[in-house]
Each structure stands twice: as structure tokens, then as C-alpha cells.
Amino acid sequence: MAIKRDVKTLAGRLDRTYFERQSTIRRIRVLAIVVCVAAGLGWWAMAGGVTEGELYNPGHVSGPHAAFESNCAACHSGNGKGGFFKTVSDTSCLSCHDGSIHHVNQKLAAAHADIDPKNHVMAVADSKHPFGATSASCVSCHVEHRGPEALRGTSDANCIACHGNIQNASMSNPHSADKIVAFTVADHPEFGRKLVQEVDGAKRPFDPTVLEFNHRKHLALEQFSSADSCVKCHAVDDVPATQPAGSMATAMGSGKYIRPIDFNAHCAGCHQIAGPSVVLQTKRGPRVTNENLLAETPIPHVPMDAVRAYAAAHIGKSIADKGFADARALEDFVKKTTDKLIADAGKAKLRDGAWTGDPAKPAAPTKLSGGEGQGAMADLYAHAIATSAKGCVLCHSLEQANGVVQTVSTKIPDSPRRWFASSEFDHRAHRAMNCVECHANFSPEKIASVRDIASVPELEKTSFISSPGLTWQQTVQSGDTFTTRARSCVECHHAGKTARGTTGVASNCVSCHQFHDRGKER
């Protein structure tokens, strides 16, 4: 029998209601869907999805925040409003950090609602802050969960957002250059603009320290002839024992900056302050000399008021120790001493510019007996100490205050030792370099030998800063030949490769600058 294979026969073999029943594969698939979805939800629930734990952590938080890693709400507070959104608010950051502002001239929002990072409004008025404002929109720069680099917010892009055109980010006309976008000679202004003064027709940084110091004279001395002579006086400010390494307290003490010159440490070895020589033989009293009156020499390097007090105390003690026969004898002694001191003061010839303002003229005592007489003597001794050749005026300028002599403050050590106050420089990090590689901006035609460095006229005044700008000239010795070549920080600090194919040293903004002004922290 032949089997039929026409369409009708073949179709007749099929159950035409088969599609009304679910196939086994389809049933298995539905079951698998249920199982997979349930497994996914189960894993989500068991992994802490309901309690909003680490399951949603997009990446580990940085080390300083590691303690809060499992406590999302510590930062994701949603500004404490308790709404749906759990964004990171400035309040969370400011509960631990001060968030000082960047610059007094930066745009300031009156209230948090007015903060607008896109329009560079990234500070908000804060009446509780000593400086009246804090930085805002922390997360614009400081990004968590993306590693420590992102948290530090040290990318140049954060700075360039405003410094690309600082006019847009300033409340009033800014002092900064309008556009600073890279650490290159073309895109970055010279350093120390606030210290620049016109001297002898040329603009150059000017040291505001009021101190008469002759580098030329000192460098000619044998003890300063070696290559490392600079550090004998200008040493870096190492970490004090009381301050732990890595402390954020201040830049000073970090080893970055040069320690202020200290008279006792650096000068007193050669320069002892001596009082005026006065030798008198009064009619009725003992022979009295200066040494008798100011028994402890040298005179301490202290402010003039303290010198005056020191002199008064020692004069009084010496007079008491020596004893005078009667009041007339003491008056006689005071008169003769003061006459001599006044006469000597009239003969003293001081260097030009020693006095700031009118010179103080020593006055004769109105009373010769008692404390007034001794006080007048102390004033005259102090005047003599200040104006003597080896006295205060050797280094200090003098001024008159209330009729008596005072030294003009050098502002050392209180004056800032950072000449480029808007930036930081780490001397320790540059210790492999010789000081004069940067600080010797001398013209080679003026130098015939190493010793002749001391002959550079500018060195007679300490008020010329020889710190380098972004571009400067360095004098290089080869044998007896000196050549000058242009130098710049960007020789090493630049993006990309050096001429030798090595990578340049860091040149991003935060290598030298900080955003938050530490001086405006509470």
C-alpha cells in the first residue's frame, strides 16, 4: 500500500488544538524566569539592598572617610531634609571640615539656594564663620568613591573652571591675571607680583624686611667661601619635635621654608652688642665705669624697651652696690655721666638712612637724684647702645618714639618667610639643587671668579630678593668662565616629556597652590 503524502494528509496528522497547550520548553522557560527573578531579588535582599548598605557603593571611599564606608547617611544626608533624594550636601562635609573660602574677591552667594557652580558662585555667606563665608558645592571638586585623587580635587580643570577667565568668578576687579590655564611661561604670570617694586628703573621683587645686611661683605669672609655657605645661615625650617610629621598645622615647620635669621644663632658669634664706654671719677664717689654699670656684657639682643629696662636695672643695682657718700655725690655722678653721653651722642656719625623720620635727640635729665635720674641715665645708655658703631644701628633702622630711640621692627621672625604668598614652595624637595642655581641672578660680566660673586653690588643690600621668577637667568661657571643662561621652573615642571624623553615633574596647580585659604580657617 502506498502512503499518501499530500498536504491534506499531512495536515490531517496534526492536532489542530496543540497551540492551546503550553509546551514543555515554554513551561520550563517560565519557571526559569520566575526562579531567576526570585534569585536576583533574593540576592539583592540578602546583600543589604533593602537597608541601603554597601550594595549601592559605586566604589570604595578614600582612606580618610573609610570609617564612614558603611554608613551612607553620614554623607548622603540630603541636607537633612528627609526627602526622597539622598544627595551629598555641603552640610555633611562642613560638619567635619572647615571649608574656608578661596579668595575674598570670589563670588559669594547670600544663601545656599543661590550657590551656582556653573556661574562660579562657589562660596556662601556664613555669619557663624569668623571670615563670614565658607566654600560651597564641595562635590563640584571633591568627588568620593573615585579614589583619593578625585577626592582631593586636585585636577587643574577645577582651577581653570574659574581661572580660565577670572573676571567671571570675581566680585570686583581681580588682582590675578585674567587667564591662567597652565604652568607655562605663556600661560602663567611671573611670581611674586605683590612684591615687585621699581628699583633703579627696573621692576623686580623687593624684600620688605627692614634690615641692613651686607651679603657682599659676609660672603668675602673665609667661613662663607664654600659652596654650601648659604645654608650656614639660611637653613630649612625642619619639623619641630612638638609637631608630628605630616601635620597639617602650618607650612612652617614642615621643612619647606627657610628658617628666619636669628641673631643669637647666626650673628652673635661675631657681633656682640656692647654698651658705650664711660669712665668717670667723681669727686666724692668711687671710680665708676661702664662695666660697673652694665655688668653683664654683651647686651642682650632684645627690643629697645627691654634694653632700656635692662640698663635701668643694672645701673640701679651697680649704684646700690658701689654706694655713694651722699646724694650730692650721686647727683654729681649722674650729671657727669649724662653730660658725657649727651656729648658723645652729638658726635655720633650714622650711616645714611639710619634714621626713619626725625632722629631722636637725647635729653638731659631734669632731676639728677632718685629714680628719675637713674631712668634718664638708662635712656641715655640705651640711646648710646642703639647708635654706637657696633650697636643696633649696624643692622637696624632707628626711629624716634615719645622722644626716645627705638629700633624699627625688621618683622623677623614674624614677617612671612614666604615671599610668594599665593603659592607654596618646598625647599626640601629641591635639596638636590644648589642654592645659587636659583638664587644667584648675577650678571657674568661682573664676576671674574667665584670669589667675585661677593663683589656683586646688589649684594650690599639685603632688600633685593634673588628668588627666581618663572623665568630667570642663572650664571654657570665652567673653569674660570661664567656664562648666563635662561632658566625656568618649567624646565622640570611641565606636562609631557623632557628633551631626554623622561616625564616632566608635576606642574599642576596644586603643586604650588591651595584652593582653601588656610589663613581663613576658623
Partner: protein, 306 residues
């Protein structure tokens, strides 16, 4: 065919969107300070677009569930084929778009994003495998299995085949009166003597034995347990030798049996291909649903903690 000339529009659109996605990603990354982030404006845009593509891909299942649906409200429901094309090409595109959203990172090990990205990777790879399979196997079935029938009806058709073969064998081996004796030519006037047709009987026995030993097993059990019938080549040899020993009267039956055996063999091959064609879906589809559920949770929480 999912990838053919008819899909040219989808392919071009997919390539254009892929190039646009990657093209926009490069300046986006260059403009970021700390690298791309799913929470940034561009990152969110990638996330929304990628999620939309994923959603469209998943909706194919719903469209297939309601095959006869013409309109959803006033909106035409679209052809199932269009939905399938959208599933393939937008699904394919969704992975690179989501990678752009995630900044080509999978997230912290053990986190939700990490789980989602790995799940997505498995779904994406299984989808590509499925796409390849769907392009190869149906064409192969068309070429090699002319007797293909509906998978769900295999049991029913096999039962019919078994019945047909049994009927053919029974019919062929049934002793018929006119065939019981062999006519012997004798001289005129002599008595006509009949004797059993020995050759026919032997052939019937052989056919019955073939049915009992091989055909029944081949039709009832796993066909591969009968190697002499399992492939077209061995079956042709087997039936050739059987045919040689069969009288002419049984040859039509042998032809029918051979045809039914071929159909049985094709059903076997069809089942293997069908399993290849559909079993990958057991990985792809359930994981897709799990992915969509977890992605929805991720989107909810990500927006919340943005």
C-alpha cells in the same frame, strides 16, 4: 532570517547610533575631570537611552504573548517581526551604550552595578549566540529536513508513523491465498500441483524480523540505538540489501517503510536542532528579566543618591 537584506535599515541605524554613541563619548570623557560617571548629565543620558533599548528588547516577549494584538489604544502594536528586529538591533546597541553610561567600569565587586553588568554581559553574549543560532539552524532545517513537522506534534506524528509502519508490515506479511502456493508448470493434462512459495515466505519472515528487531526500536526508542537506520547513508544500504532479497510484490511496502524511516530520522534531527534553537533562550530570557528588575532597582537608587 533575522539578519538579511530586509534588516538593512536596522543594521544601518544601529551602526549610525553606535558610531554616534562612541563619537559623543570621546569628547564627553575629555571634558570630565575625574573620568566618566553614570551620574553625570551625559552619563545619565547614556543610561536612559540604554535602559530604553533594554526595555524595548524585553517588550518583545510581551508582544509575542499577544500575537494577534493590532493596536495598543490608538497606537498600532506593530508587527512581531518589527519587534523582533528592534529586539535584536536595539538589544545589541544597548550594551555599548550602557558601557558608556558606566564609563566602561563594572563597579565594585559585590555591588549591585557589578552584578548587573555581569548579568548584562551574560545576557548580551547569550543573545549574540542565539542570533547566530537563529540565523543558521532555520536555514539548515529548511534545506535538510523537508519532512519537518511541528515540534509539539512530534509525539503524535511518531505514533502515526509507528502505526503506519506496523500496518505496512502487517499487510505485507499477511499470508494471502493466491500467494500461498507457487504454481508449477506441468504438461498438458497433468494435474495442477501447487506448493508453498518458499521465497515469498522467507521474505515475509525477513521483513517481520526487520520490523521486530530494528524498525520498532527505531520508531519507539532512541533512533540512534539502531545504527543501520540512524543515518541516511546507512539506512540506504540497509534498505538496498533488504530490497535485493525481497520479491517484487513487497518492494512498494519496502519503499513506504524507507520513507517513513526517513521521516522518523528527520524528526530526530529536527528535535536536536530545535533544542539548539530554543535551549539558549533558557539562559537568555530568564536572566534578561532578572537584569531588568535589578536595573530598575539600580536606576531608582542611583537617582536617589545622585
Amino acid at each position: 532570517m533575522l539578519v538579511d537584506r530586509n534588516a538593512r535599515g536596522w543594521i544601518v541605524a544601529t551602526i549610525v547610533m553606535f558610531v554616534a554613541s562612541v563619537g559623543l563619548y570621546i569628547p564627553y570623557v575629555a571634558s570630565t575631570v575625574h573620568g566618566p560617571s553614570g551620574g553625570s548629565a551625559a552619563g545619565l543620558a547614556y543610561g536612559v537611552v540604554g535602559s530604553l533599548f533594554m526595555l524595548i528588547a524585553v517588550l518583545l516577549g510581551l508582544r509575542k504573548r499577544f500575537r494577534t494584538l493590532q493596536k495598543i489604544g490608538p497606537i498600532p502594536a506593530g508587527r512581531a517581526h518589527t519587534w523582533m528586529q528592534a529586539h535584536v538591533w536595539l538589544g545589541l546597541l544597548s550594551y555599548p551604550v550602557i558601557l558608556c553610561h558606566a564609563g566602561f567600569r563594572f563597579g565594585m565587586t559585590g555591588s549591585l552595578t557589578w552584578a548587573i553588568m555581569w548579568l548584562f554581559t551574560v545576557v548580551f553574549v547569550s543573545g549574540i549566540v542565539g542570533l547566530v543560532i537563529q540565523n543558521i539552524i532555520p536555514r539548515t532545517m529548511l534545506e535538510r529536513l523537508p519532512l519537518e513537522t511541528i515540534y509539539e506534534q512530534h509525539g503524535r506524528v511518531l505514533a502515526l508513523l509507528r502505526g503506519q509502519v506496523k500496518a505496512i508490515v502487517d499487510d505485507a506479511t499477511l499470508e494471502k491465498d493466491e500467494e500461498a502456493f507457487e504454481l508449477e508448470a506441468v504438461p498438458a493434462g497433468a494435474a495442477v500441483v501447487t506448493s508453498p512459495n518458499a521465497r515469498l515466505l522467507q521474505a515475509r519472515e525477513q521483513l517481520r524480523a526487520f520490523y521486530e528487531d530494528d524498525l520498532k526500536r527505531f520508531l519507539d526508542d532512541d533512533p540512534r540505538s539502531v545504527p543501520r537506520l540512524a543515518t541516511a547513508r546507512t539506512a540506504a544500504g540497509t534498505f538496498g540489501s533488504i530490497r535485493a532479497s525481497m520479491p517484487a510484490s513487497l518492494l512498494p511496502a519496502i519503499d513506504d517503510i524507507e520513507h517513513l524511516v526517513a521521516e522518523r530520522r528527520q524528526i530526530m534531527q529536527q528535535r536536536v536542532m530545535y533544542h539548539w534553537l530554543h535551549l539558549w533562550l533558557l539562559c537568555h530570557v530568564p536572566l534578561s528579566y532578572a537584569l531588568v528588575v535589578l536595573a530598575a532597582i539600580h536606576a531608582f537608587q542611583a537617582v536617589r543618591y545622585l
